[in-house]
Symmetry: C2
Subunit: 458 residues, 2 copies
């Protein structure tokens, strides 16, 4: 065994009887062995990603995914499985988007590698042909605002490589995807092209939602692959009169009905107190939705399966929730929180996995300091599994709704983030990109944390 | 900034002036930015893996790899670059190995997915046709020793999934690859088939060295893919008279000359005191040798490049060593240690990267407790980069020769190990399997550690 200094220090703050720590350590070891040896998560993920595939809210695949969710929760041994209806947005991409460079040089340039942004409107069938103006940032847009009218704005803000945790690069850059269209539309732009949110070493475009401001015209928007973004930028330096032909075929249809899929283990002591664990069932339409967020779903189901397989009887009711719609509306989480609030439910904790099925490093948490300190006192139990970080601040989008609505302490699995934005919202987020053991270690970590929170409270 | 308890505790043991810690923290940040922004490691790796390719000692690719090593070290700005000749084994695989199931059922079974083990002899051109006996372990071999004569022994010992760090699974299972042939030969076996050392979810065979005992006949040996191993085991349960046709075409030729490729930054204060950093240039012949050990080579070169780019002038001489032959002989490390000992060189520390170019978690170290405590006192400087483990015990095979010969304290980069044995010594250890940022963070971690050891000594 390795000799950690941390446990000794923490023991001063949170004296726990040695016998109890030993029992917990044994139960975590049993959970890890169970998951690493008998997990059904990988097989479940294969079904969801390869048989159902991409499953945007409102799509036929959404309905298949809900059926899959009910089946895997029953197979895992849930005491109860049910669906919670909610209204979800119904955005459709339509025929493949097309953006072409029109140059007076008349050389051959292949169509640009683009994807319409989620929630964006389409162009008219004839498309748009217009000059392009490149901007490096919103500050640059402001500086050039008088030249934007009648043009296509090209946001070429690069993902920063210096951040160690790549979600910080995302947080830094994603505003151009979310707000870029409306900000440009206010100055008369006709459409926008946004550099993909990625460090990836390839040319795949990465889609994702935009949000239209109410006080700006709605204009169409696409994400562009990094190599094509560099090429376009380079061409623009030599050809200020370069134009783009731009056609997208997407539309926002009326809301439709989706479902949160919920499976429970009924609490043995406090059936009316809840611990929520989940991921989101929906994914973008352009990939298999493996890391985003198939892994979060199957990890959550695996937690329930492992508890049942080991005969762990939680005191409180554990609810596994496969949320209906995170990607372009967070309507699943909102509905879940709304119902919890309306019923006056008591929620102890809510945990999400929606940062990829990569090797786990810890948990980000959002809760008062005393509760965080309690969770941190369990850190030594996780160190043998290379799970060490309980300092990060955060929680997932779906459980965040519960936090907002009724203040439930929340957390999110914190996997290693280096590979996430190579494939996030892009065509390569597939089953093959998931490593079985990395995902299983995440599922185990979640099970261990939930076991301890159920046992000791928060 | 996050609030770690660990730093506070360590500060008691190793009081370092706050100003100094701040300077070191800044220099590590500069090193990280330099590597994450301007690294040439990924481009260098692409050349080594895709232009040179597999490069077993004695092969023409070995010579190309040496030339590549000299070039990249010069490009990185080394003060001196030279080659150190050493004798290396010269094993050749020859024509593709072939192992087929011969069943009285006469159903079609594709040839088994096998690879001859490194250093193994070949069969006669006519091959061997013989019955198979499956053994679960060496204990099982002993129990069945009277039934082994004239047969092919099939070692079907599975890689254990319960170990969190996969090198423990490897340590547990690799004896069947290393010693299985000789142990079976003593009881009259004609050949062995060894289940691959992998958790992988595919059927790729994983090669690697065996070692013949001097007191046993040399018999040929292959590794078999996991799916074929399961299939063979399943068939054997129903067909005790199943035979295999077994032909390998490998041979061990006389030793030939290879080279350690060495680049130095001359020490500004103590040019005659050395810190060694390296990986091995050779790889198996069946893949591109990307994680094993192209990444270790390019990370070591990157350290030198980053020092030069930032104008860091080490006190002691930093030697980057691309070792000639680790896979089937460790002759590169042995020669390096032999020369160091003969010349009476003073070596402060030796660091290796040979566990894959995955996201780093820390360093394994082999050194007296007081020196380890000194290294651990720097842990807070690495935490912002998610590098936290300085407790693991170990060092690499190549620098291990220096440790053995003259007691040099040593260490090895400790990357996350979950994916390593999916591709170790198999056809899928390719450039595409390496994530640029994961590898770069490893290179940065190595640079940070060497910077501190050079500055403060050990």
């Amino acid at each position: 065994m390795r000799n950690y200094l941390l446990p000794a220090l923490l023991a001063i703050t949170f004296p726990v009887c040695a016998q109890q720590q030993e029992n917990d350590s044994l139960i975590l070891r049993n959970l890890a062995n169970e998951v690493l040896t008998h997990s059904t998560a990988y097989a479940n993920l294969r079904e969801l990603t390869q048989q159902v595939g991409g499953r945007l809210a409102g799509s036929p695949q959404m309905v298949q995914a809900e059926k899959w969710g009910v089946k895997v929760l029953k197979d895992a041994g849930a005491d109860t499985v049910y669906m919670q209806a909610c209204q979800v947005p119904h955005w459709v991409r339509g025929a493949k988007e097309e953006v072409r460079v029109i140059s007076r040089r008349r050389d051959f340039i292949p169509p640009l590698n683009v994807l319409a942004l989620g929630n964006s409107i389409g162009t008219a069938p004839a498309g748009i042909t217009a000059p392009v103006i490149e901007v490096a940032s919103f500050e640059d847009l402001e500086a050039k605002k008088d030249k934007v009218k009648g043009k296509i704005v090209f946001y070429n803000y690069a993902f920063k490589p210096e951040f160690v945790r790549t979600f910080e690069s995302y947080g830094d850059a994603v505003k151009y995807r979310g707000q870029g269209a409306s900000r440009a539309a206010k100055y008369g732009a006709l459409a926008v092209v946004v550099r993909s949110m990625s460090h990836g070493a390839n040319n795949l475009p990465h889609t994702g939602s935009l949000r239209y401001d109410e006080d700006a015209p709605k204009i169409p928007a696409v994400a562009i692959g990094l190599e094509d973004a560099d090429m376009l930028s380079s061409r623009l330096k030599g050809e200020s009169d370069l134009k783009l032909f731009f056609r997208t075929n997407c539309q926002m249809l009326p809301d439709t009905t989706g479902h949160n899929v919920i499976g429970e283990i009924r609490g043995s002591e406090n059936p009316d107190r809840y611990i929520t664990v989940g991921g989101h069932l929906d994914s973008w339409d352009v990939n298999e939705g493996a890391h985003d967020d198939g892994t979060g779903c199957v990890q959550s189901v695996e937690l329930l399966r492992a508890f049942k397989a080991l005969g762990i009887k939680p005191k409180n009711t554990i609810r596994i929730v496969l949320f209906a719609n995170e990607e372009n509306g967070a309507r699943g989480g909102k509905k879940y929180a709304e119902v919890a609030k309306a019923k006056g439910e008591q929620h102890i904790f809510a945990l999400e996995s929606d940062a990829g099925g990569f090797t786990p490093r810890g948990f980000s948490l959002m809760m008062p300091d005393d509760k965080r300190a309690k969770v941190k006192s369990w850190a030594p139990l996780f160190l043998p599994y290379d799970v060490y970080d309980f300092d990060a601040v955060g929680g997932g989008v779906d459980v965040g709704q519960l936090y907002e609505a009724i203040g439930t302490p929340m957390g999110e699995l914190l996997p290693d983030s280096q590979r996430y934005f190579d494939l996030h919202h892009a065509a390569n987020d597939t089953f093959e990109a998931v490593n079985k053991r990395e995902m299983e270690l995440g599922a185990f970590s979640m099970a261990g944390l939930i076991y301890l929170i159920d046992k000791y409270g928060l």
